[in-house]
Amino acid sequence: MKKLLSILAALLCVSAAYGQKLVIKGSDTLGAKLVPQAAEAFKTTHPDVAFEIAAEGSTTGIAAITDSTAQIGMSSRRAKPVEISAALAKGVTMKPTIVAYDGMAVIVNEANPVTELTLRQVEQIFTGDVTDWTAVGGNPGKFSIYTRNTSSGTYSDWKELAMKKRDYASSSQKMAGNEQIAAEVAKNPNGIGYVGLAYTHAPGIRVVGIVGKDKIAVLPSNQTVQAKTYPYARPTFFYTNGEPSGLTAEFVDFMLGAEGQALVQKVGFVPAVQH
């Protein structure tokens, strides 16, 4: 009998070791490139771990932590008070961990002569206060505004950072991700949109400088985001239920470690931790 129990225990241990799975859901900004690459790198030292990554927007990541359907919720925005309350009601404590910084770049078609915009002009364009490129020194033509969809953290972050929390112009077109926005702007001479730093090198687009109160045009970069001189910079998060533990903690530590932060930089984000 003892022998049988020992065999059963050994089998359980083996199956547990081989059955480890990390479910990560949320932000497209993080989940399109950075986290899948980080997962691959992590697997080199943890070959038994399986990853399930779903990048469908920050809202889905925060909801997944609330509903306990993921161990990590990726988010490019802070959890809203109502989301934190909803989580608390289910006994979940939202714990944010900054894994990288991102600069949200304003992009135009590469043929567009406009090279810089003021904070006010960006607000006017995305809210629909102005409708034609001539209003901001461009060639005649109506703006084609490309934004993220409403479940995206970037969608709401942009409203907060660039639009004084006002609503988007009714003519704006909602895209599924950064890559789609960059592709549409590249095709459309009157296009304008915003993408994360990691997507600013897409073909056919150009990043415009943002003129702030000091009248100096600033482009998004590692330096300007770290120095907080670029106005549209933001932290990106891993949300967990309380302090991460076990495999979740190992992956979070990996992301904040030298290898993870090097990946952050390689993919086009700004590291959260200097090594």
Partner: protein, 436 residues
């Protein structure tokens, strides 16, 4: 640096525990400043933000969730306990009817300001009569119903143009001569405001009020909805702290036919046919007399019905050749206020005299307390209010009315119109009102 960070976190954390609700609202700029000064790192700041939000979510206020479109939401109301003494004598009788009643009224209002100029709201109260929220304490500890008194949607197109749909507070500038203060009109209303130097302004107010909904399958008058249309200009002019308001208006009705009695109003289920009323109301406020914060107000209201002859003759069946057309109703009053009426110790008194002529007013909307809602009454109303506390007041109201014309018989020479059967009346109301 680490110690400073800990101090900063301890400071915020300590404050969070003592005043989580306030900090959750206000801590953002403080945390940003701590980050900017290098007192805390971005990561520590994020943890603090999340912690403060979680602390706030545990408070009573944090558990109340409103839709993201709600910019502000105000919940308010009042409870009024009333002792009422009434006496009245009907025309041709010698006996006086007397009654003493204990009554109460409960009102609950919810008013929300939404994004992009939209508003919405509701009000519940304890009675379904349009002109009263009162319930009389009756038998055997009965319970009482709650009714929906207001439900509206508003839209401000800009600073000048406001539209409201639904059932809403009376948008007209008026006194209770023509409009009982408890009536919440239903339909739609528009206000356009012209602004001049200082606070002076001219408002154009319009009301389209559904008075009677009829089923269009019926033939003739019974198949037409009856509407009240009121248009009013309200001019407000300031003379330093003093102010003048003048408000001329015109009220007409459509499809208020002789054969279609209004059933939405007490005490009379009568028609609003033959009413085309020119109204004129206003007031002059002597505010802050001698820097005391006290004020005197002189106010007036009036109504002239161009169709009074037809109304008296056809609706009330009274011989106008004998009794006249009784086309003009008026009210003149004066009031004194000590303080704003919102603080403990504030008080106010006012008295007005009015003449509610038979053909001049619509009894469906006129005050239901003055002469018990009867027309052909003149007399006065005295009111006094004293604030026991900022939120509680004692109010007294006294009405005394007598018939304008005695022997106001109908054409058959025997009976008097239902709406004009009162010889004289008195009502005394003593109220305790608590607001929240």
């Amino acid at each position: 640096m680490r110690n400073i960070a800990k101090t900063g976190l301890a400071l915020c954390g300590g404050l969070a525990l003592t005043a989580a609700s306030a900090l959750a609202q206000d801590s953002g700029p403080l945390i940003d400043l701590l980050v900017k000064k290098g007192v805390v790192s971005d990561q520590e700041a994020e943890e603090l933000r999340a912690e403060l939000t979680q602390e706030y979510a545990k408070t009573s206020a944090g558990k109340l969730s409103l839709g993201s479109s709600v910019q502000s939401f105000k919940l308010s109301g009042d409870v009024r306990i009333r002792h009422q003494m009434e006496t009245k004598q009907t025309t041709g009788k010698t006996a006086t009817d007397e009654r003493t009643r204990e009554r109460f009224r409960f009102r609950l209002n919810g008013d929300a300001v939404l994004a992009k100029g939209w508003t919405t709201g509701f009000a519940f109260e304890t009675a379904n009569a349009a002109d009263s929220g009162n319930q009389t304490f009756t038998n055997s500890n009965d319970d009482y119903n709650i009714y929906l008194a207001r439900a509206y949607v508003g839209y401000a197109y800009n600073d000048n143009l406001n539209l409201t749909l639904g059932k809403f507070k009376n948008p007209l500038y008026t006194t209770d001569l023509a409009w009982d203060g408890d009536i919440n009109p239903q339909g739609l209303t528009e206000t356009y405001t012209f602004r001049f130097d200082g606070k002076d302004k001219l408002e154009v107010r319009a009301l389209q009020n559904i008075m009677q909904d009829n089923d269009e399958k019926n033939w003739g008058d019974a198949g037409n909805d009856a509407w009240l249309f009121a248009q009013q200009l309200v001019y407000t002019k300031f003379f330093g702290a003093n102010s003048l308001i003048l408000a001329p208006g015109l009220t007409t009705y459509s499809n208020a036919n002789l054969g279609t009695a209004m059933t939405n109003e007490t005490p009379f289920a009568g028609t609003s046919s033959k009413l085309t009323m020119l109204t004129f109301a206003g007031e002059y406020n002597f505010a802050n007399i001698a820097g005391s914060g006290n004020g005197i107000k002189v106010y007036f209201d009036s109504s002239y019905n161009f169709d009074a002859s037809s109304r008296v003759s056809q609706v009330y069946n009274v011989n106008t050749a004998t009794h006249g057309k009784e086309a003009f109703a008026w009210l003149l009053g004066v009031g004194y206020n000590h303080g704003s009426g919102k603080a403990q110790g504030d008080y106010s008194v006012k008295v007005d005299y009015r003449r509610s002529a038979l053909g001049a007013l619509d009894p469906n909307t006129s005050d239901s307390d003055f002469g018990f809602g009867n027309l052909n009454q003149e007399g006065f109303k005295i009111g006094a209010s004293y604030n026991l506390l900022d939120f509680a007041s004692l109010n007294l109201s006294y009405f005394y009315t007598t018939a304008i014309k005695d022997g106001l018989f109908q054409k058959d020479g025997k009976t008097t119109p239902t709406v004009a059967k009162l010889d004289h009346s008195q009502i005394l109301q003593a109220d305790l009102v608590v607001k929240f």
